[in-house]
């Protein structure tokens, strides 16, 4: 039943030996010990398990591990390190967009895919682009603020004037 699968996660190739019915989320958490992506509902509604695959945000609980074969998977662990935070991570800290923190990794990964696709996303576009991620603590106000701040920071970086 178990099958050998290769997964490309955060630029590293991992070989795992898993049953095909395991979800990508389960395998990231249980086999690769990348527990940044969270399981909040396991039915695709909360977005806490969001990771980026080939540049697109997906919900890890809605993808079987064989479906991720040959794709580049980016998780929160691959986004930035303590010394070198991604502007979104820095903005989430600076703008108090984090409370309990359970939605945070998924929220940041969704925002990352959104800003990659739409570097000049408006508040409306941010709100609708992140609607698949639920937060119960913040009322979303400071999350929007943080994503807008990261957007502006990233724009500065690409046009250093």
């Amino acid at each position: 039943m178990k099958q050998r699968k290769e997964l490309n996660v955060n630029g590293k190739i991992y070989e795992v030996f898993v049953e095909p019915w395991r979800t990508l989320l389960e395998v990231l958490r249980e086999e690769l010990h990348l527990t940044g992506a969270k399981m909040g509902c396991d039915d695709g509604n909360c977005g806490a398990c969001t990771v980026v695959i080939d540049g697109k945000a997906i919900k890890g609980c809605l993808m079987l591990v064989p479906q991720a074969k040959g794709k580049k998977i980016l998780t929160i662990e691959g986004l930035g390190s303590g010394e070198n935070l991604h502007p979104l991570q820095q903005a989430f800290i600076d703008h108090f967009a984090v409370q309990c923190g359970f939605c945070t990794p998924g929220m940041i990964m969704s925002a990352k895919a959104l800003l990659d696709e739409k570097p000049d996303a408006t508040e409306e576009e941010i709100r609708s682009g992140l609607q698949g991620n639920i937060c119960r603590c913040t009322g979303y106000v400071k999350i929007v603020e943080a994503v807008e701040a990261a957007r502006d920071k990233l724009a500065q970086k690409s046009n250093p004037l």
Binding site: R29, E30, H33, L34, T35, G36, A37, K38, M39, G40, C41, D42, D43, N45, C46, A48, T75, I76, E77, G80, S81, G82, L85, L88, Q89, Q90, F92, I93, D94, F96, V98, Q99, C100, G101, F102, C103, T104, P105, I108, E123, I126, R127, S128, L130, Q131, I134, C135, R136, C137, T138, G139, Y140, V141, K142, I143, V144, E145
Partner: protein
């Protein structure tokens, strides 16, 4: 503690320093309970078989097939559970009868979640359906259609339990002044009935724990339940384990809002860990979070208010019915909820009966305000209706009746900190309440509304804290209150940094491990900053005293002339010395005892804070000079639009003012306000349990509608205002903020809906369906009126 009434903070207290947990959380490195499972190879996984019936007798329960399935380690039913029932937790598994749809009947621990699930499906159970009661008003009658729990009175040993009303769990009476006389003097009397729906906390992280049975018969539990010492006590008590052999560790908690105050995963996991003699993990599915976790108490409030023409309220009579659901443990006597009606207005003649009632519905308990928002919902809608009847502005009416500092409330307490009216004035001004809304063509009608409220703080238990001051000036803070996201770790770090005048980076917080951190209850009643914060200040000052004591000898200066500032001992009129120089290196020639400080040995400071206790109230009148501790206050103003064709409500603008006492971290206070506002939008316009024969049918994040980004106003249209009335005994004058932030929102929304479409809705939520139904009724009534 310092003798100054409000010592001025000089370093980090009062500043919006970044959260100490934020870095780990944005990196995905913060550890939540389920993240620890990877550390336990051979872990057993628990699944539970749950009742589909709201009330039924278990005729047959056969687990033999499940037990034989390869990979199954242990199977338990109600018969395996300890006989003891705790006030702190629901019954572990049903015994003879199931009393709500969702109650656990049997449970399995197996090598994988799949095997556990398959085993559950092999359990054969036969039910005989019994009459069920879902409505609290029916349930509280002398001859109810069903008795939710025949053993209730026996289990509880409650003096309030009466066989005549077998579903009533408690009754709080308030008899202040002379209500008959008050009504006789009134120029106007207004009577209404209000209700709120059952709602779910829906915190993002499901309840989860890992329990390891140790070889010596003890256990270690990692859990996201609240209050490590409370869980330690609960588990040792339920299972008769030696207290010293139960260790509870608390990783980060992914939200709670009161949900985790009752412990619904730890007891069953402990039972199975002991039976399996191994390590088990039990994590609720999202569906179980709706069916078998805590919920918010639905409340029905009857309110009759008498007022003079000038707006003075001369009498109020209330009947409050608090629905506990099928609760063995989380018993309400109605007193908590009732407080929502007492703490804001000056009502000399007040007659109130508040009841706790059991029904065959999912059990209910604490939820961001513990009943007070549900009662304030009635009071604040009533105030607007009264204002309209009197031809007064809602602000003026409230101004006339609001309690002021130094006055007595209806319990007889003297109020020492109340900023509620300032909150309301600021909100009304910000939202421009006096300016009428400009209507636009189309189906959307605009309206504005305001409301205010308060929440009592329970003087519960006591809190301890410790600090370890190291020779290099770094400080470790040890405490056991929770971090469910509200920022307690940051507040504690700020307090220590302030006391020692050191940068935040030199403080490390260690939290929530009964083998390491000192006693605390749990984070409830918005008291962590106040209780644990006060204890921590004492701990810091205790360590400081020890250090300065040691310095008196070295520096030959009296204690009063010394101070420790940022790692340096400062003496009046001398250059001072480094803290490190106080710590003596080890040598066989130095005396090792005595008052001197030793290298490598931190100075340990300890603080214990216990709030001033309540004074027992007269059970016949509810009167006492001290029912609670202090009150936080708030007000909310909203501008919204109502679609008269679909019934939808969109919140355009929200202004919220809070009196939380002195804000230790203003941005985090803002976060509490915005979060409470968002949560309250859900409770006000969308959230409710939908049932079929008592079984909840919308038990997922897809169908139980909590707010998304879309339901919030644009960020520039959400405004948080601070209007603190500092509390003398709070740390730097701080009170608390977490629970107050929902209270005023629902009535402000209902008042705004009335302003928009002239329809008064008295039942929550103001769902699109309910609003549209009322619009259609009104259209029909208006037509009938025209035709008659």
């Amino acid at each position: 503690m310092s003798s100054n009434k409000f010592p001025t903070p000089t370093s980090v207290v009062g500043k919006s320093v970044p959260r100490v947990d934020a870095l780990d959380k944005v990196l995905g490195r913060a550890q939540f309970t389920a993240d620890l499972q990877r550390n336990f190879p051979g872990l057993f996984h628990i699944k539970v078989l749950r009742s589909p019936h709201a009330h039924a007798r278990i005729v047959k329960l056969d687990t033999s097939q499940a037990g034989k399935l390869p990979g199954v380690r242990a199977v338990v039913t109600g018969k395996d559970c300890p006989e003891k029932v705790s006030f702190r937790a629901p019954r572990i598994l049903a015994l003879e009868e199931v009393i709500w749809a969702g109650e656990g009947v049997a449970a399995v621990a197996a090598e994988s979640p799949e095997i556990a699930q398959e085993a559950i499906e092999l359990i054969q159970v036969e039910y005989e359906k019994l009459p069920a009661v879902f409505d609290a008003e029916e349930a509280m009658q002398p001859n109810p259609p069903a008795i939710v729990d025949r053993l209730l009175g026996q289990y509880r040993g409650s003096p309030q339990f009466t066989p005549e009303a077998p579903n009533v769990t408690g009754h709080f009476k308030l008899r202040a002044g002379d209500v008959e006389k008050g009504f006789a003097e009134a120029d106007i009397i207004l009577e209404n009935r209000f209700s709120t729906s059952r709602i779910s906390h829906s915190q993002l992280e499901p309840a989860s724990c890992i329990v390891r049975a140790e070889s010596d018969g003890g256990i270690i539990t990692w859990t996201n339940g609240q209050g490590v010492y409370v869980i330690k006590g609960l588990i040792s008590d339920l299972f008769g384990l030696a207290v010293g052999k139960v260790r509870v560790i608390n990783p980060y908690q992914g939200g709670s809002f009161g949900s985790r105050l009752r412990h619904y995963v730890e007891p069953l996991a402990t039972l199975l860990a002991l039976k399996a003699r191994g390590t088990v993990q039990f994590t609720y599915s999202r569906q179980e979070m709706y069916l078998a976790a805590s919920t918010r108490l639905p409340v029905v409030t009857y309110i009759k208010t008498g007022a003079k023409k000038d707006g003075t309220i001369v009498a109020q009579q209330m009947k409050i019915i608090v629905d506990n659901g099928a609760s063995y443990a989380a018993i309400q006597d109605g007193r908590m909820a009732a407080s929502g009606a007492v703490c804001v207005y000056r009502i000399a003649n007040f007659f109130m009966d508040s009841y706790g009632v059991n029904t065959n519905t999912p059990w209910a308990g604490a939820y961001r305000g513990l009943g007070t928002p549900q009662v304030a919902w009635a009071v604040e809608c009533q105030m607007d209706m009264l204002a309209e009847n009197l031809g007064m502005s809602p602000i003026e009416l409230r101004r006339k009746n609001v309690l002021r500092r130094g006055e007595k409330n209806a319990y007889g307490e003297i109020i020492e900190s109340i900023g509620v009216m300032d909150c309301l004035e600021k909100v009304a001004q910000e939202i421009k309440l006096e300016e009428p809304c400009v209507q636009e063509p189309g189906p959307w009608r605009k309206g504005k509304g305001v409301a205010m409220g308060g929440k009592q703080n329970t003087p519960r238990g006591h809190s301890e804290a410790e600090v370890l001051v190291h020779e290099d000036g770094t400080v470790e803070v040890l405490y056991s209150a929770d971090e469910q996201g509200m920022g307690s770790e940051t507040v504690m770090a700020q307090i220590a940094a302030e006391e020692f005048r050191i940068p935040m980076g030199q403080v490390r917080v260690r939290r929530g491990d009964t083998a390491i951190t000192p006693y605390d209850t749990f984070s409830a009643s918005s008291f962590t900053t106040y209780n644990t914060g006060n204890a921590l200040r004492m701990a810091c000052q205790d360590a400081m005293r020890q250090i300065l004591q040691a310095a008196t000898q070295k520096m030959e200066a009296p204690l009063d002339d010394l101070a420790l500032v940022n790692g340096k001992i400062i003496v009046k009129g001398s250059p001072g010395m480094a803290l490190a120089d106080l710590f003596e290196p080890f040598s066989i020639f130095t005396p090792q005892g005595g008052a001197s400080l030793k290298k490598g040995t931190p100075v340990r400071g300890r603080g214990v804070f216990a709030p001033t206790p309540a004074i027992p109230w007269d059970p016949q009148t509810g009167l006492t000079p001290k029912m609670w501790n202090w009150y936080q206050y708030n007000a909310c103003g909203v501008e919204l639009v109502v679609n008269i064709e679909t019934g939808e409500i969109k919140i355009l603008q929200g202004v919220f003012a809070a009196d939380m006492g002195f804000p230790i971290n203003p941005k985090m206070c803002e976060g509490q306000i915005e979060g409470g506002f968002g949560m309250a939008i859900g409770a006000s316009i969308m959230e409710e349990y939908i049932y079929e024969n008592g079984l909840m049918t919308n038990c997922s994040y897809g169908d139980y509608r909590i707010p998304t980004f879309r339901e919030m106003p644009l960020r520039r249209n959400v405004k948080a205002i601070f209007s603190p009335d500092p509390l003398p005994e709070g740390p730097w004058g701080a009170k608390g903020i977490g629970e107050g932030t929902m209270i005023a929102v629902a009535p402000a929304i209902a008042n705004a809906v009335y302003n928009a479409i002239g329809i008064r809705i008295k039942d929550l939520p103001l769902s699109a369906e309910r609003v549209l139904r009322r619009i259609k009724e009104k259209e029909k009534n208006d037509q009938d009126f025209l035709h008659n």
